[in-house]
């Protein structure tokens, strides 16, 4: 019974929003109400996810699973960060300062780690991918754009060289447009399957 109700909800709400989307601004009030409820449910789902995160780490501690010590770190840092946000407010200067002091170094370092690990990917690329039109184009293009980004040729300030560089820098546009249209077609059909009531992972 719950499954049928869920399918009807998805199809009904989906059709209502699509119709209102294309008839804008005619049905804007109804569209806005449906969107506001969607925003609330999206945020509640995020909170349910965060509570699930805390319960998972609490189970790890209680069952003394491997690395359960770090679950203490998660719960403790969550408590401090959450209480700070509630008491001082998410936009308080002191709160933001300490939040940035912890979050910025770790996230920027993870991003820096990406550079260090891509060195191995760059080195073993041709050995792994072999020789196909795709891999050759990929390798040569990556090499070309790395060298262009160094700025050596631009510094020569030769008009003809600049025009070639500008032409080369616009080359990714064609492939990018093809990929974008392809991905959009896939997303369009997936959305239609939801409105057909076929893509119903919510009803498992």
């Amino acid at each position: 019974m719950k499954k049928v109700l869920a399918i009807i909800t998805a199809i009904g709400v989906g059709l209502a929003v699509v119709i209102a989307y294309f008839l804008r601004p005619l049905l804007d009030p109804m569209l806005e109400l449906l969107l506001q409820w969607g925003i609330i449910l999206g945020s509640v789902a995020a909170l349910v996810g965060i509570i699930n995160l805390l319960i998972t780490h609490w189970h790890k501690i209680r069952q003394k699973k491997e690395h359960f010590v770090f679950s203490f770190v998660v719960l403790l840092s969550f408590a401090l960060s959450f209480m700070g946000g509630i008491v001082l407010g998410p936009q308080d200067e002191t709160y933001i300062r300490w939040l940035a002091a912890l979050q910025v170094p770790i996230e920027v370092s993870l991003m820096a780690l990406l550079a260090l690990t891509l060195t191995y990917a760059g080195f073993q690329f041709f050995r792994m991918r072999g020789w196909t039109p795709l891999s050759l184009a990929f390798g040569i293009s990556a090499l070309l754009f790395l060298i262009l980004d160094i700025g050596f040729f631009q510094a020569l300030e030769l008009p003809f060289v600049n025009q070639i560089i500008e032409f080369l820098e616009h080359l990714p546009l064609a492939g990018g447009r093809g990929i974008l249209i392809g991905i959009s077609l896939g997303a369009l059909l997936t959305g239609l399957r939801v409105l057909f009531g076929v893509e119903r992972h919510y009803g498992e």
Partner: protein, 247 residues
């Protein structure tokens, strides 16, 4: 004009979808290209059951925070296929989501798998985790979970930001099987360079048909093929008319 053109495209897609669904009811999956990475994925799945190791399925984030994205749901067919082994293997697969709504959806799929396996009491919420509240926190939690010694495979299926390629690097370091399947072009570029089993462009949306989840998934691929040919023809005709100054 854009709105009219969009409506025409959506109408064409709906008609073609229904047409191919009815046309190919008997054998919906015949005549479709099979994607290479799904065979090793099946092998890795059976291997995980055989040697009692664990598969970790990462469903990525949504396009933006606090929403469920269509591309995030693109990874669900793979989770559904791997969830069926939840009842068979020694270690149930772990689904890690970077978005609250994806965590709820994956929980339903895993719970459904145990219910289909007539063992609902064996399902616990820990198998479907909400790993992190921000993309980098999600990446960090997945890296920590990826180091677990019970793992034998990391399956990335969903919407990923480029920095998630650290997980493919971790799979390479730890000698794990890794399937990287995303709809984000940036992530596709890095996955293509760092792991063997990856999909490019819109192949991400062909997972459902390859795993034979529902006949309408196969009809979708056929509809996409016809639409791409219509787009190509429209571009050529449009260019011709533009050169002639008609439009």
């Amino acid at each position: 004009m854009t709105r009219l053109a969009a409506l025409i495209m959506i109408g064409a897609a709906v008609v073609l979808l229904a047409f191919f669904w009815l046309l190919k009811r008997k054998n919906p999956y015949a005549g479709l290209r099979t994607l290479a990475p799904f065979k090793p994925l099946e092998k890795a799945r059976l291997q995980a059951i055989e040697d009692g190791s664990r598969m970790v399925i990462m469903l990525g984030n949504s396009l933006l925070s606090q929403e469920v994205s269509i591309s995030g749901m693109g990874g669900m067919p793979i989770l559904k296929k791997l969830a069926d082994q939840a009842v068979l293997g020694d270690h149930a697969p772990i689904a890690m989501s970077g978005e609250g709504s994806l965590a709820c959806l994956s929980q339903m799929i895993l719970a459904g798998a145990y219910r289909d396996g007539l063992a609902p009491e064996l399902f616990s919420n820990d198998q479907s985790q909400f790993a992190g509240a921000s993309p980098f926190a999600y990446l960090a939690a997945c890296l920590a979970e990826g180091f677990d010694d019970n793992n034998s495979a990391l399956v990335l299926a969903g919407h990923f930001r480029p920095e998630m390629v650290l997980l493919a690097d971790l799979a390479g370091r730890e000698g794990l099987f890794c399937l990287a399947d995303s709809d984000a072009p940036g992530a596709q570029a890095l996955f293509y360079a760092s792991t063997m089993h990856t999909l490019i462009g819109e192949e991400f949306y062909a997972g459902g048909a390859n795993l034979r989840i529902h006949p309408l998934q196969a009809a979708s691929l056929r509809t996409q093929d016809v639409l791409r040919i219509l787009i190509a023809v429209t571009l050529i005709v449009g260019v011709a008319l533009k050169l002639m100054g008609i439009i």
